[in-house]
Symmetry: C2
Subunit: 433 residues, 2 copies
């Protein structure tokens, strides 16, 4: 079989090359500096940067290609303590693989990008090439690997469930209608109903996929399409088992980030969060007292969440805090009540650095409880027939959670806007690129 990378040396492999060795480098021209006596070309490939040195007689007739031109360079390895990795490439012969590039809208070679967020987003295909931008997504990819690795090891099965659905899962307000062969369908707001049904099949399931929310407000923490890391599993005692599994998963994501994203963490100067093995928990009722809100407040406002984040940091040295027991009347119908006081629920939100990152909890599992809960909200169980079928045929006590992937990375990097860590964000105003 043909080797996919014939004779190519990656930038990160240069440090191991022997001085005098011939190498082939391929990548983008990251930076060129033409000086009187010597010129430099910094090459960027998927593993990093490599320094190429040109004597005046080695410069091509048409000059060193402009930044972002794609080149193939054959040269000789030379030791140079000043060069990145202690090695550079001399006596280069440069071949252009694509025509000289148009001048980028931003100077990608600068250590940090001097551009507004709209500029970054409008030119995403180019601005993500900046090493600091790219590093953000590398942490996202490492998080995904840690998420899956943790759950695979715990006997979970990966599932994929439909994104075009005929019923509205979460609320009627923020749903996108789809013209489905002339009928009206909807984009799934979450895989909630499907992941629960599949607990009856696989007992432990997870899904990584897009979810869609027609958020009518333009905020720094909402997207119209985002990636939800969904987990659901059976044979739990209550929501505290769900929270324990969430702790394992977040720990696994952090482990991957540290082991596979070390370079990106350095480049971005990330302060790693403190996520204790046992996540601290506070009851919603007590959370209201801590932030000085009235006893009958039905939900936590963003300012409350921030205050609780500070409190958890001071009290437990923790960047995460679970608030359990949210009032039943604010939770979806499938939420399991707190057994000793049914005003409260066996559900939780996880605050990460003072912002809601995860919603989770125990669900109802008895068919009769579903019928009552749906009727109590003035709806008809027949509208949920396919979903309820699973419960009519025996379902274990179960629960689960959903992590917003972009939110996780945004808070990890303390980004001021979730769009900074999203490759091609979708929102009220943005449908392209």
């Amino acid at each position: 079989m043909r080797s996919p990378d014939p004779a190519r040396t990656l930038a990160a492999q240069l440090a191991d090359a022997v001085p005098g060795q011939h190498v082939v480098l391929e990548g983008h021209v990251h930076r060129r500096r033409e000086l009187a006596k010597v010129s430099f070309l910094i090459l960027r490939d998927r593993t990093g940067l490599a320094q190429v040195v040109l004597r005046p007689d080695e410069i091509p007739a048409e000059g060193i290609p402009t930044e972002e031109t794609v080149v193939r360079i054959v040269g000789v390895v030379a030791a140079n303590a000043q060069a990145p990795g202690g090695v550079e490439v001399v006596s280069p012969v440069i071949e252009m693989l694509s025509e000289p590039a148009r001048t980028p809208i931003v100077e990608l070679w600068r250590p940090s990008l001097d551009a507004t967020l709209p500029t970054l987003l409008d030119h995403a295909a180019v601005t993500w090439r900046h090493p600091a931008q790219r590093a953000k997504w590398e942490l996202t990819a490492a998080s995904l690997r840690g998420f899956r690795r943790t759950l695979d090891a715990a006997g979970f099965t990966e599932i994929h469930t439909p994104k075009i659905v005929d019923t509205i899962t979460e609320s009627g307000a923020n749903v996108f209608p789809v013209d489905y062969f002339g009928k009206t369908a909807y984009l799934a707001q979450s895989p909630q109903f499907y992941k629960q049904q599949l607990v009856g099949v696989f007992e432990r399931v997870y899904e990584v996929g897009p979810v869609f929310r027609a958020e009518p407000h333009d905020t720094v923490r909402h997207l119209a399409e985002y990636r939800s890391l969904d987990v659901e599993f059976g044979f739990i005692r209550d929501h505290r088992d769900v929270l324990a599994q969430l702790g394992e998963v977040l720990g696994g994501m952090l482990d991957s980030i540290c082991s596979e994203g070390a370079g990106a963490l350095d480049l971005l100067d990330v302060a790693l969060p403190a996520i204790p093995e046992e996540i601290p928990v506070v009851h919603f009722r007590d959370a209201l007292r801590i932030v000085g809100a009235p006893d009958d407040e039905p939900d936590l406002a963003p300012a409350h969440e921030r205050a609780l984040g500070d409190w958890a940091r001071e009290r437990y040295g923790s960047d995460v805090l679970a608030v359990e027991g949210y009032p039943m009347r604010k939770r979806p119908f499938y939420t399991h009540p707190q057994p000793d006081d049914e005003r409260w629920s066996n559900s939780f939100d996880l605050l990460f650095r003072g912002l809601e990152l995860v919603t989770g909890g125990q669900r109802l599992h008895r068919h009769s409880d579903y019928v009552s809960a749906i009727e109590a909200r003035g709806e008809s169980p027949s509208a949920y027939a396919a979903y309820l079928d699973a419960f009519a045929h025996g379902m274990p006590p179960h629960g689960g959670f959903a992590i917003g992937l972009e939110r996780w990375v945004a808070r990890l990097l303390e980004a001021s806007n979730i769009r900074e860590v999203t490759l091609f964000p979708r929102d009220l105003h943005r449908l392209t690129p």
Copy 2:
């Protein structure tokens, strides 16, 4: 921290239990058999089946719970050479975790399901519980792990790209419109444009995600929503490098299936496909001759594909065959032509057991080539402005492929209908469950 599975023994762990040991089992009642002298309850959990034996005085007053009821059983391990794994559980105390189940529409305890496909699909939440159904999806999940593992090891970065888009990628005919905050948007037919742009960022990328095709025909091999395993990477010589990478990926998927899906393979009696390390290749021109089609035929009909599948089996002992060089006029505008004869393309389809499974190839990479190709089709490059931005700023020679996940498993299992291996299929007539 609380242990998530307190004291629970899984069915697969019973074989290692010591006779006389007390165990806690949890799962669904898979089968009950009440005989005069002794009764049996077969318990099903995520790892398999366990046999529980009840003496007449051990049967609960209300009888043994019906099939699919969820139970917790405390009992004692006993050796019995007749039992699965040589071990059974005696002296059981049964606790019902959910109310007795409604009688399932199918008898899940029978070795094979005696039900029509519409019945299986209409009651998917229950019918997927059958061990043979479940095994199909276990092979899907194993395939996904093998796909990612192979690409992670080869330096690829996982990406996630928007599923709501403003332009139509593949063709105007089979697209689903979305009402996007009052504007018309579309569901992505493929991540093609995005994965190419991101080759400029990460050099090697992959995505596992839903794609949407408003297929107006009801066939056994098309779905309106399916999972596409997309790969794209830079610094290739031509489409043959793409094909070599595809071979690695398919090999990795098969490896995972064999190592992690051994039980499922056995249960389903799967004949493993022969996928040679070097995938055999035939040019489109020669493929027409082999199947006896006219020289000017622009595409391969399903009957041609089947004939080529047979030919590859006989000639190479291979279940896969790559047909390269498809006529340019039948390929999308971003396709790279064959350098020595521009009527043909540097693209391929991979036939798996005589059915198209993968489309791939080399793409154009020069900005000027894109402008010409788009204009030659009578379109305006300005309609592709965001996409073309990447090429205006230097893109390496690149290519990639897309594998249809459900099609892969359907052909692996020689299923007669792709819906047999899809958890909750979507098609012209099916939007629920």
